[in-house]
């Protein structure tokens, strides 16, 4: 039986997807601007972020209304709760994209410190994690979500690598410190983006199966899926 | 819109028909009440002036003499009704309880059917039956025979009313009683029956009102008695029989007394019915 409620749930999902699309775009613009050394692309990031914030408010409002009026149960309940959490993560991701733009603007004011190798790799990996976690949400695919959880480790490893490399630069030549710090901050932003993508994946697994895989419950997630 | 307009165009004709019908029904209702009204007023007109203290206290005077009263008939009727109730009420209520609470299947259907038939047996047949059962073997007319014949008339009325009233008690009341761990008979008697007491009393009163004026059965059983007698194995005077005797007599004075007795009887029956109605309204008001 198709319910009016189902239409409202679909609207909610669509809103999250739209928001996710904006987040993906913002991450793309900010990272590409840095890699291609085109600071004008950073402006787009700011526009996208304000759209993300508007949607952030709308999603929360819609969820409150659904909970108050419909008293959802079972899968519907889990979905609404997951959406509330994913909403928060997406908004934070928007903020991180803006931080990358901010740090990147400062970095691009000066000549390149070194050819960027690891940061583009990190950016690529993080962007695919974001895309896959949102895909998993659309398809309610717990397996896809679990695969996102696995990739977080490699992102963390890349971040550590970048830190080590830049620290050697800074120790060798103090004049490189401002630029190195900016790159370190950007690596940090990318790592946080990866964390948020894993949060989204965990929420998708919860919505689909009811299993709470946060804080080390991942083995359980693998077993369930 | 077409529908609305078509309906509206018939409005005038409909209203005229309505009013004609209303007036006709009203006139017919009046026509139905008219005989009752005539009887009542005639009896009051003839009987009320004849009421005096002697009527209630004196015994019938010797034939031909004026004066005297209906004391023995009043007492006799009272005794007959009392004894008939003693027999008829327990019997009728038990039958009603059985049919309502335990009666399922063919036996109950046959019983119910028989009781309905008994209710419509002409009272004179009841009288003849009692004559054959009690008067002939004992070789005498008696008050007890009269009481029995009246009881036979009362039983189906009381049984039917009791059954109907008990059926009105919703089944979850019984279930609640059973749910408390009470045996079925206790639930029936102490909860269901007790709750319908008002209605059952009403049924009893209606039965009494019915038999108070029965004449035919008494003619074959209690006969009549010109003297004061409250012995149950002897003939006994009663209001309706005495009215009959006096009315067919040639004496003016007796006619007058017969009217007085008729008046008393009508007042009795009327007040029983009115009381019944008032109680029923109170019962209804409570359950609503």
């Amino acid at each position: 039986m198709e319910r009016h409620f189902d239409a409202e749930l679909k609207q909610l999902k669509d809103l999250i997807l739209e928001m996710g699309g904006c987040v993906e775009k913002a991450v793309e613009e900010s990272t590409q601007a840095l890699i291609e050394r085109k600071p004008e692309r950073f402006n787009r990031v700011h526009e996208l972020e304000s759209e993300i914030n508007t949607m952030h408010l709308a999603v929360d409002e819609a969820c409150v209304q659904l909970l108050a009026r419909q008293s959802p149960l079972a899968a519907d309940l889990r979905l609404v709760i997951a959406v509330i959490k994913i909403n928060t993560d997406l908004e934070r991701m928007g903020d991180q994209a803006v931080n990358i733009a901010h740090n990147g603007t400062h970095y691009l004011k000066e000549p390149a410190l070194k050819p960027l190798i690891d940061i583009p790799r990190m950016a690529l990996e993080v962007r695919s994690m974001v895309r896959d976690s949102l895909d998993a949400f659309v398809k309610q695919d717990a397996e896809l979500a679990a695969s996102v959880l696995d990739r977080d480790d490699s992102v963390d490893a890349l971040k550590d690598q970048i830190f080590r490399e830049l620290i050697t630069y800074m120790m060798a030549d103090p004049k490189t410190v401002p630029r190195a710090i900016n790159l370190i901050l950007i690596a940090r932003n990318l790592e946080r983006l990866g964390d948020h993508a894993t949060n989204i994946a965990e929420d998708v697994i919860f919505a689909k199966t009811g299993a709470d895989v946060r804080h080390g419950g991942r083995l359980a997630a693998k077993a369930k899926v | 819109m077409i529908v609305r307009d078509t309906l509206a165009s018939h409005d005038f004709r409909r209203k005229i028909t309505h009013h004609v019908a209303m007036v006709t029904l009203f006139l017919m209702a009046c026509a139905a009440i008219l005989p009752l009204g005539f009887v009542f007023f005639y009896v009051v007109e003839q009987g009320a002036p004849a009421i005096n203290w002697d009527f209630f206290t004196k015994l019938p005077a010797p034939v031909g003499e004026t004066g005297g009263g209906f004391a023995n008939a009043l007492a006799g009727s009272a005794l007959l009704i009392f004894m008939a109730s003693l027999i008829g009420i327990p019997w009728g209520v038990s039958a009603g309880v059985y049919l309502s609470e335990y009666g399922r299947g063919r036996v109950a259907k046959i019983l119910r059917f028989s009781i309905d038939i008994l209710a419509s047996v002409p009272s004179i047949i009841v009288g003849i039956f009692t004559y054959a059962m009690l008067v002939m073997p004992l070789k005498r007319f008696s008050a007890i025979a009269g009481a029995v014949s009246l009881a036979v008339i009362m039983i189906p009325v009381i049984a039917r009313t009791t059954e109907e009233l008990l059926k009105l008690v919703p089944s979850h009341i019984r279930e609640a009683g059973l749910g408390l761990g009470l045996p079925r008979w206790k639930v029936t008697l102490r909860i269901v029956l007790r709750g319908s007491m008002n209605g059952i009393m009403t049924g009893v009163m209606l039965a009494i009102a019915r038999v108070a004026g029965e004449t035919a059965p008494l003619l074959f059983t209690a006969l009549s008695n010109r003297f004061w007698s409250l012995k149950i194995d002897q003939p006994i005077a009663s209001l309706p029989v005495q009215i009959y005797n006096y009315a067919i007599s040639p004496y003016e004075d007796w006619h007058r007394q017969a009217w007085a007795a008729a008046f008393v009887l009508v007042v009795l029956v009327l007040s029983l019915n009115l009381t019944t109605r008032l109680i029923l309204r109170r019962v209804d008001g409570k359950t609503r």
Partner: protein, 258 residues
């Protein structure tokens, strides 16, 4: 040997079947009830939950043509043993009905005490104590203590239902069955009775049929979902309403049943 190991269940239902003539209304139900819990029975109309409830206190067999098979163990004792007196069984398992039904022509006091008075207990002191205790347990004492002699039917709908609860509690049954106890009441009375049930489970074990899913979710510890005479799923409430195992349960509780 029973009694050496405490029975974890107060009621164990095994392969319970019930018929109305040829109509197989309840099909091979297995269910175990934990003491001092509230178990809710939910399901669409005609699914057999009320019939099942009535089998638990042997009320079903009072319907002409009704039949029961299987066993129901109350504290280890099968209530359907051939030698068992149904009347005695029903004293152990109380029942409250959908329509509040205080007995007519009995006062508030009389109604609460009726289970005792008609069983032969007449001593005033005992009755006074039981009536007060039961009315307090039913959260009704304060409202009626000054009108114990008033007719049972003079109370409001919600109060009447609490009166019926007090009446059932007066005979101290370990298990209380409730058949949609609040479906005829307004929201405030409903809320009062739900609060009452949560308090009651300290004293008795409650099994409640309800067609209000939110009520089942609020009030019960365990929930059984019935469909077409079968128990489709029986689980702790907190699991059944967040992660039901059976897709039919999921469809029913999310309102997708056609």
């Amino acid at each position: 040997m029973s009694g050496i190991v405490a029975n974890p269940y107060i009621l164990e239902v095994e392969k319970l079947n019930a018929w109305f003539g040829q109509n197989h209304a309840v099909k091979a139900i297995d269910l175990n009830v934990v003491p001092h819990t509230v178990t809710a029975l939910i399901g669409p109309s005609g699914c057999g939950k009320s019939t099942f409830l009535r089998c638990l206190n042997r009320l079903h067999e009072e319907v002409p043509g009704a039949r029961v098979s299987g066993q129901v163990m109350l504290q280890g004792d099968n209530i359907y043993d051939p030698g068992k007196d149904p009347v005695a069984v029903r004293r152990q398992i109380g029942m409250v009905f959908q329509k509040a039904n205080p007995f007519p022509a009995l006062s508030v006091y009389g109604n609460v005490a009726v289970g005792l008075t008609l069983a032969g207990i007449r001593k005033r002191s005992i009755l006074d104590e039981v009536v007060e205790r039961s009315l307090r347990h039913a959260a009704l004492w304060d409202e009626v203590k000054d009108k114990l002699k008033a007719p049972g039917t003079s109370l409001s709908g919600g109060q009447q239902q609490r009166l019926c609860i007090a009446r059932a509690l007066a005979v101290s049954p370990p298990v209380l069955l409730m058949d949609e106890p609040t479906s005829a009441l307004d929201p405030i009375s409903t809320a009062k009775i739900e609060e009452l049930v949560l308090e009651l489970k300290k004293e008795v074990t409650v099994i409640m049929v309800t067609h209000n899913m939110q009520q089942a979710a609020r009030v019960s510890d365990w929930t059984a979902f019935f469909l077409l005479g079968e128990s489709v799923e029986f689980a702790e409430t907190r699991k059944l309403f967040t992660t039901p195992q059976d897709s039919r349960t999921e469809q029913y509780i999310t309102g997708r049943f056609g």
